[in-house]
């Protein structure tokens, strides 16, 4: 969304009004989505929670909410997931029982990139259909974040759309019992956390095995290993096609296909040939040895017009869609959301109408005002996200300066070697001033130097870097900030409305 008030999100969580009267709402059992309490609490019966468990859930939710409010008031760290932590310890099995009350079921969105945006798009579509949704809109995607969302849920919510961490999905399947699992992609994310992409594939496969018999997997057909991973399940594919492919290799960059993951054929290990490449290892492939080749997507987003990070025009099933958030990665997110909605019985035409009003949030290509200049923020959470952003930024003539802000806290991934897999050579050819920033600003400076750029002095503090960028930015052009997760948090903290901008103005 385009606002200078960085703390707001598009969908405000709604104050809970039903926790004191839990028995008032007892949705009818929904076929196929009732289940036993998988958490071993031993109080639930098929068809719903017992009154006793429900009372305990209500009391626990009320206590958790109060604690959450207190924590926020006291500005204690980690307040946002505190209710979830408390409620599951006060009332084990809470997630399972509350999820079972969602009459229209649960959609789980997982994968490396695009979870938050895809889940958000699905909610927008469902809401347009008049459904009341619950979801972890803050992006807290572990068990506690999902429990917190259920504590905060509206009393009339009938459908849950949750983004779920890839490693947490398997263990949450029995409690959430999703009708749909949407898998966006499998990029190298934080190797120091997961080890290898093959391990992520195993985790996701394990999760799919726990789908109910009438459940579906919605997966990216352009991700060869992911599509192979969901073979044998009831799967629906989505993909993105570009009519004209521009060469994407960075001029003067040694090596091959920057940003691409190593992709041997998932079936036989032979190299894959790309007929078309979209982002990193995503694309249309054919094995050089066996018969493996990319499937035709059931839901295809065809790119009509690209306009940098600002917008992208797609054709989805013959319906044009203008997304107010650019980049091929958002074409994938939209295709995934439209596919999920399609399986839930909502036509692409209806979904497109809903997505036309979709606005990006939390650093996913949003705009702030700094020093009287518009500044675009783009989250660069891993090589794939950066690979998607760089061509958009490098090709956009409106871009006048770029801040590259890399932190190495746990949430960013402590290992930052991925900056060498990203095609900063391409960014260097844009010829605009580049400002290294973040806790690892010196490493970014070296990376940009070896990419062929002459970076401006590093500014570790993001506010200083943004000032340097707006100073270096020619009139009429925009500064862009590419930042890792906690670097983005730092930036938003520095730009909380006019007050923060003024603070910035008096600093130097």
């Amino acid at each position: 969304m385009t606002t200078s008030n960085g703390s707001e999100t598009v969908f405000q969580s709604v104050a809970v009004d039903n926790v004191s009267m839990p028995a008032a709402h007892s949705p009818p059992p929904h076929e196929g989505f009732n289940h036993e309490d998988g958490t071993g609490a031993g109080v639930a019966t098929p068809g719903g929670a017992t009154a006793r468990a429900r009372l305990r859930d209500a009391a626990a939710a009320a206590a958790a909410l109060a604690a959450g409010r207190l924590s926020r008031t006291m500005r204690a760290g980690g307040g946002s997931s505190l209710p979830g932590v408390l409620v599951e310890s006060l009332s084990p099995g809470f997630i399972a029982r509350r999820a079972a009350r969602l009459a229209d079921g649960v959609v789980a969105v997982s994968g490396t990139n695009g979870k938050t945006t895809t889940a958000s798009m699905i909610r927008v579509i469902l809401r347009q259909e008049g459904l009341s949704t619950v979801g972890n809109e803050s992006g807290a995607n572990l068990k506690r974040g999902i429990a917190t969302a259920l504590v905060d849920a509206r009393s009339n919510a009938t459908v849950g759309v949750f983004e779920v961490d890839e490693a947490a999905l398997v263990s949450l399947m029995p409690a959430l019992r999703p009708r749909l699992v949407v898998l966006t992609n499998m990029f190298r994310d934080q190797l120091d956390r997961f080890g290898e992409v093959e391990r992520v594939a195993e985790l996701l496969r394990g999760a799919c095995e726990r789908l109910p018999d009438d459940g579906y997997v919605i997966a990216n057909v352009d991700d060869p290993l992911l599509w192979h991973t969901v073979e044998g399940f009831r799967r629906i594919g989505f993909g993105v096609r570009r009519p004209s492919v521009s060469p994407t290799s960075g001029a003067g960059s040694p090596g091959i296909d920057p940003g691409a993951e190593p992709t041997p054929c998932p079936r036989c290990g032979a190299p894959l040939n790309y007929e078309e490449r979209t982002i990193g290892h995503l694309g249309v492939v054919r094995c050089t040895r066996c018969s493996m080749r990319s499937a035709t997507p059931d839901y295809e987003a065809r790119v009509l017009i690209r306009d940098g990070l600002r917008s992208i025009v797609l054709d989805v099933a013959g319906v044009p869609l203008t997304l107010s958030t650019g980049g091929l990665h958002n074409a994938y997110n939209a295709a995934a959301a439209i596919a999920a909605a399609g399986v839930l019985g909502i036509s692409p035409t209806r979904s497109v109408t809903a997505l036309e009003s979709f606005r990006p949030r939390f650093g996913r290509a949003e705009e702030l005002q700094a020093n009287g200049r518009p500044v675009w923020l783009a989250l660069m959470k891993n090589p794939a996200a950066a690979a998607a952003l760089i061509p958009e930024i490098a090709e956009d003539p409106r871009v006048g300066a770029v801040v590259v802000s890399v932190n190495d806290l746990v949430a960013d991934g402590r290992d930052i070697s991925w900056i060498w897999d990203v095609d900063f050579e391409r960014l260097a050819t844009a010829g605009v001033p580049l400002i290294p920033s973040g806790t690892r600003a010196p490493d970014v400076a070296v990376r940009l130097k070896y990419a062929g750029a002459d970076p401006l002095p590093a500014s570790r503090a993001p506010a200083d870097a943004i000032r340097a960028a707006t100073d270096a930015c020619p009139p009429g052009k925009q500064a862009v900030v590419m930042a890792t997760y906690t670097a983005m948090l730092d930036i938003r903290r520095a730009f909380l409305g006019d007050r923060a901008v003024r603070l910035l103005d008096v600093r130097s």
Partner: protein, 251 residues
Amino acid sequence: MTGIGPGMGGPDLIIAHLYPDLLRTYGDRGNLITLVRRAEWRGFSVRVVGVTRDERIPARANLVLIGGGSDRLQAIVGPDLVARRPELEELTAHDAVIFGICGGYQLLGDFYVAADGRSMPGLGMLDITTGPGKGRIIGRVRAQATLYGDTFECVGFENHGGRTLLRTSSATPLASVPHGQGNNGADGTEGAVQGNVVGTYLHGPVLPATPAFADALLRRALAPRTKGAPLEPLNDRLEEEAHALARTLRR
């Protein structure tokens, strides 16, 4: 060009990057970029040739770079790489340098026993063996290295399950590790050097923030052209800042 006569045609430095499509974890590409740029900035012409399975390494390659990969990818390239021993020995006989990182380092050794107990033969160009160990060795490393007469401090990141032992005195440790686990977490060594074959576990990538390491490799690889003359110094202010920062990071 630093006082070197006109070349015999062709680039001054040919770098063969082995399995660029498969062995490229942890920013290994950064080592390649660093070697290329630091040679180019000194006026040497450089050609990079990606060599994957069933392709030949250029006969005039001066530097062969082998990165790391997952166990699955390593198993895919292993047989192809091991079959290249005559090709690689021919190159080292003509003073080419072979530089392996992590998986590439392990494959340069005699054999490698994977976590599941399967044994894979290596190239046998470094007198090292690698076996499984308890848990992975993960963390940041500072290592005191000596390579071809240069001493320098390496900063990097280690992440490996294998434990490597140097078997004979033909292979000498590349470095000692006061901060980190290194080859095996027991003997305080990290990496190995045997003639023109160099291996290390250090990712990071290691060369961008340790330019002296890159230059030691370059000087050796360029020796046929420069007669081993010292390389022209470069302005390494940014690299030194990154190195200094890396020294302060907790493991």
